[in-house]
Amino acid sequence: MAQKHVLFTFNNAPYGSIWYTEGLRAAVGATSGIDEHTVDLVYLGDGVYFTLKDVDRTDSARYLGTLTKGGYRLKAERESLEARGISAADLAEDVEVISRADVVELVKIADLTIDF
């Protein structure tokens, strides 16, 4: 048993499948256990569609609230956004844009990684 730092990546767009929200639920679960693991939340590929400002967050608001209170931010990969023609103005306020090189740095500091 040990506290770990876990990188969660979100690779699937809402709402064709439910990984986008059930991944957040799992992240809440990881941070709420006895070990209180810490997490990074990174949106890649089609997953970045979740970071659009007009996306309906009804299903995920509760998990996002818990994670935000814990100081966590949603991080979207710039290269994935650009490939889909999404500009910074299209994004929700709680989303931070980071470069692919930054994502690789998050990979390096993680103890474990989980993809949703």
Binding site: M1, A2, Q3, I18, E22, G29, A30, G33, I34, L112
Partner: protein, 117 residues
């Protein structure tokens, strides 16, 4: 000896992930490692004990039963189990437990490596 954590979010048959997960777990157990698997989302369909299909000699649930016999821990997400109408896993093969995300958090804490499928 090390501990392999596994997360499986897809069910039997439709997608290949269950087969990959079972095969990796078998290989890890055969090498003397510990295996702790969490079944999440559609992953909870895998251990239903009544699976029967004439074209297949070994059913998915048999593969998971063999893992349990070799010492693997398999825990299913209870919220997912009940959402899918599986009533607390009443029709599960022996040895698969129904738990929750705290169990997955524990697996994260214990795992030397984690595979998500």
């Amino acid at each position: 000896m090390a501990t392999l954590g596994m997360l499986l979010t897809l069910g039997p048959f439709q997608f290949e992930n269950w087969d990959t997960a079972a095969s990796i777990a078998e290989a890890a157990l055969d090498k003397g490692h510990e295996v702790r698997m969490f079944l999440y989302l559609d992953g909870v369909y895998n251990p239903i004990k009544h699976q029967t299909f004439p074209d297949l000699s070994v059913m998915p649930k048999d593969r998971f039963a063999a893992l349990v016999e070799k010492g693997a821990t398999i825990i299913a997400c209870g919220v997912c189990v009940n959402a899918r109408g599986l009533e607390k896993g009443k029709d599960y093969i022996d040895g698969v437990k129904v738990g929750g995300l705290p169990d997955f958090a524990e697996i994260i804490g214990e795992a030397d490596a984690l595979i998500t499928l």
